[in-house]
Symmetry: C2
Subunit: 136 residues, 2 copies
């Protein structure tokens, strides 16, 4: 698969599997994201993946389109985790995410209604390498 | 999600994302597998994931059922990579895989027709910890 085709899948997809290393073990979890051609942007509550990425910022995003066992493509984007803490940047990132994922999830709704809930972490993964494989 | 529900998804699914560590980076790739309640069994040509798992046998399998942003579940099964080299065990594992995935993929067909092609590696991941999260 060409790098262009791989990047196109990365741009069009909204759901990726984030791979990171937690302790000595790999950790993989589905995430929604936006890709602006340099970075994947996402957000999360504090938790295992945030702790893992803060400790070991080299991560990957795997995105695929699987029709069946014989027709599939998979893209792997490697990059570095960066927390977005600057107020303006954070607002822009959240606004981009909100434009793609306009509804709050039930968990986020609970948080929005609870002033004591932890603030979500907004982060980017600065992509520096993209590879793709396909069959069919 | 209960451990029983997580294990049920692991049993019923056929496609997982395998997470391993290659060098200092996480590596994630889709794999077809069979789960016999103790181990996930799969096979692969020699390549990056096999090299990575031989060097760092702690891996994970992530399996999910995503309806939409608000209705999804994801299971993470941690385990240890073991290559199946014993002739009888290898035959049993391949027979199980063939019963679930009866057709050869185009790549495998090419290999079957080429006596000089490398032999596929048959392996199990001995699962020792299963966690699950869900929304909706």
């Amino acid at each position: 698969m060409s790098v262009e085709e791989a990047r196109a899948l990365l741009r069009s997809a909204r759901l990726a599997r984030l791979g990171c290393v937690a302790g000595d073990e790999p950790y993989v979890v589905p995430v929604n994201y936006a890709f602006d051609d340099e970075c994947a942007i996402s957000h999360s509550l504090p938790g295992l993946k945030i702790t893992a990425m803060r400790e070991r910022p080299r991560v990957c995003l795997q995105v695929d389109a699987v029709k069946d066992q014989f027709n599939w493509k998979s893209v792997l984007a490697y990059g570095t985790f960066e927390e977005i803490v600057n107020t303006d940047e954070r607002a822009r990132a959240l606004s981009l995410l909100l434009s793609l994922f306009p509804r709050l999830t039930p968990v986020e709704t609970l948080i929005a209604e609870d002033a004591n809930a932890p603030a979500p972490i907004v982060y980017r993964i600065r992509i520096d390498r993209v590879t793709g494989i396909r069959e069919g």
